[in-house]
Amino acid sequence: MAVALSIDGLTVDFGGFRAVDDFTTVVEDGELRVILGPNGAGKTTLMDLISGKTASTGGHVHLYGTEITNRPEHIIARHGVGRKFQIPSVFRDLTVRQNLEVAASGEPGVFRNLRLHMVAQDRERIDRVIELTNLGPVLGTIAGELSHGQMQWLELGMLITQQAKVVLLDEPTAGMTQAETFKTAEIINALKGSHTILVVEHDMAFVREIAERISVMHMGRLLAEGPMAQIEADPAVREAYLGSGGIH
């Protein structure tokens, strides 16, 4: 299998404090990887480093063989990294359909977008996403008026419309009801195989629902990596979680 994302010795040093410290892992094409770790382990910072929000001070990130380390966010996005934030981030004054239309444009520049109109392909892609995310009834609604769960699904839908090859999800079920969490798991499971997905998550029920391989982070370092059963049995992981009450 091809390697989608290869992270090699990634480090960020905030004036002596290493939020991510010599982190190395390889995510294969089509894999769903869950990143676990206690609070402050550096999970979100890791996503910031991959997506270009924060500049790393050491190490490399390669996306399908292309180096994307410390490139500007929009360039990394153009290479195929999509990111969902912990706090839902959608265009609140635009309608749901407009949100998806913005995500659908394959052109980054201003002038091309003056001439570019929606083509049948874009429309089809949007329609598929609408079906997957159940947003059909609210297409004309202003995104700021959506429920919390719908907003999260819209953001997920935008990543799919964007045709991100590697999708970074930061706590996609935070603040969701059980039913919403279940629906989210369904959407993510539907993406398995066609997208490479990296999920930061605390909700263990949800992790069991979707996880294949898990990387555990602790103090900015990679502590353990493997399938669910192996991680749960790992003594080092139990040790790291002891302070925060163990995995439950």
Binding site: F85, S89, R92, L94, N113, L114, L146
Partner: protein
């Protein structure tokens, strides 16, 4: 799913029809006005208000659509005005009556050192800047090109550095003041505080556009309609949609792969070009250019017009500017209201900001939405998927 999309499309379609109806009506009224009113004095006045309407469009484009509050739009208006006025000044008879066979602005001659050569090249240190303005078209072209260049350089530097929000407002505010000072200070070249007066008339193909002539009104009105439609087209393109997305959440737009700064720079620059064009037309209609165009109060007034009319609507902001100025002109002829007017407009602004953040245009849109809902009877729009 198909019938739910249909029901949510109905108010959209109604809105779109209402929208185009308003545009058509506006253009018809603006272009048809001379048939109803043959008082050239009033037509000239209204032409100036139409220029303010164009400024409203420029503000709506940058503030409403791009989320960039430019408190120095007067800078671009002023540059457009001065560029035009320099050419028209050289065409004025006052520039030829001072004993020189080549045009030299009268104020330069009055202030010339004894024995200085009465030629644009060297009557004073800066006068050579005026040489290309002997061609009217150079001045007219620069009225748009110079604001575009200045806006491009300014916006490239601030948006690449991701300056946003109130800081943009502060920078633009400071800049317009700075340029105003420079213009006043460069008295030998710009006639300082007095500005450029006694201008000649815009001349196209031998036809002289006397400001108090219906043809001049048509030049201004036609330009306004063109700019309105151009801006409308710009925001309806995909680039316009992406621009609005960068206003709502620049980070999200960046993560979708858009170079946010490029979109901001483009629309900020277009907005400045429109303001420069407005400055040009103002000089054609009003026959002067003055540093007061770069007063803070003028730039802030523009923002107030747009806020009252509705900053998220091009035509709303345009109408806001025209209406406020028309009312102001009518009211300030009564002595009692003359001073009170500033208070009244301040009060209106506060009320709009507090209770009608989308201005008159937002009010109109709510009204059409409400009418549409009534027409469809008891079929409220589905708000959420259950």
């Amino acid at each position: 799913m198909s019938d739910t999309t249909a029901s949510s499309a109905t108010p959209n379609r109604l809105n779109r029809i209402a929208d185009w109806g308003i545009y058509a009506l506006f253009i018809a009224v603006v272009l048809g006005l001379p048939m109803l009113m043959d008082d050239v004095f009033w037509l000239n006045r209204i032409a100036k208000y139409l220029v303010y309407g164009m400024l409203g469009i420029a503000i709506a484009l940058s503030w409403g659509y791009a989320g960039i509050l430019n408190l120095g739009q007067g800078l671009f208006f002023g540059l457009g005005a001065y560029m035009t006025a320099m050419s028209l000044k050289l065409m004025s008879s006052t520039s030829l009556q001072q004993g020189s066979d080549k045009p030299v602005p009268d104020f330069m001659l009055w202030n010339a050192e004894p024995g200085a050569m009465t030629d644009l090249c060297c009557i004073n240190k800066g006068s050579f800047l005026w040489i290309p303005f002997q061609h009217q078209w150079f001045g007219l072209a620069m009225a748009i090109v110079l604001p575009l260049i200045v806006a491009f350089i300014l916006s490239s530097s601030i948006f690449r550095l991701r300056v946003s929000g109130v800081y943009v407002a502060i920078i633009t505010l400071a800049l317009v003041l700075l340029v105003r000072l420079l213009i006043i200070d460069a008295q030998p070249v710009t006639n300082g505080f007095n500005g450029l007066t006694d201008l000649g008339w815009l001349t196209i193909g031998g036809f002289e556009f006397d400001p108090y002539m219906v043809q001049t009104y048509y030049v201004v009105a036609g330009s306004l309609c063109l700019v309105l439609l151009l801006a409308r087209w710009l925001v309806s393109t995909r680039a316009g949609l992406i621009l609005q997305s960068t206003r709502d959440d620049p980070t999200r737009a960046r993560y979708l792969g858009y170079d946010v700064a490029a979109f901001q720079v483009f629309f900020f620059t277009v907005s400045a070009g429109i303001a420069g064009f407005a400055g040009m037309l103002y000089v054609v209609a009003a026959e002067f250019a003055s540093p007061s165009f770069m007063d803070i109060t003028f730039s802030i007034s523009m923002v107030v017009w747009a806020a009252v009319g509705g900053r998220n609507s091009l035509i709303g902001a345009c109408l806001g500017a025209i209406l406020i100025n028309t009312i102001e002109a009518t009211v300030s002829e009564t002595e009692v209201f003359k001073e009170a007017w500033k208070l009244i407009i301040g009060l209106i602004f506060v009320l709009v900001v507090l209770y009608m953040p989308r201005g008159l245009a937002g009010l109109a849109r709510d009204l059409t939405g409400w009418l549409g809902q009534r027409r469809r009877g008891a079929d409220p729009m589905p708000k959420a998927a259950e």
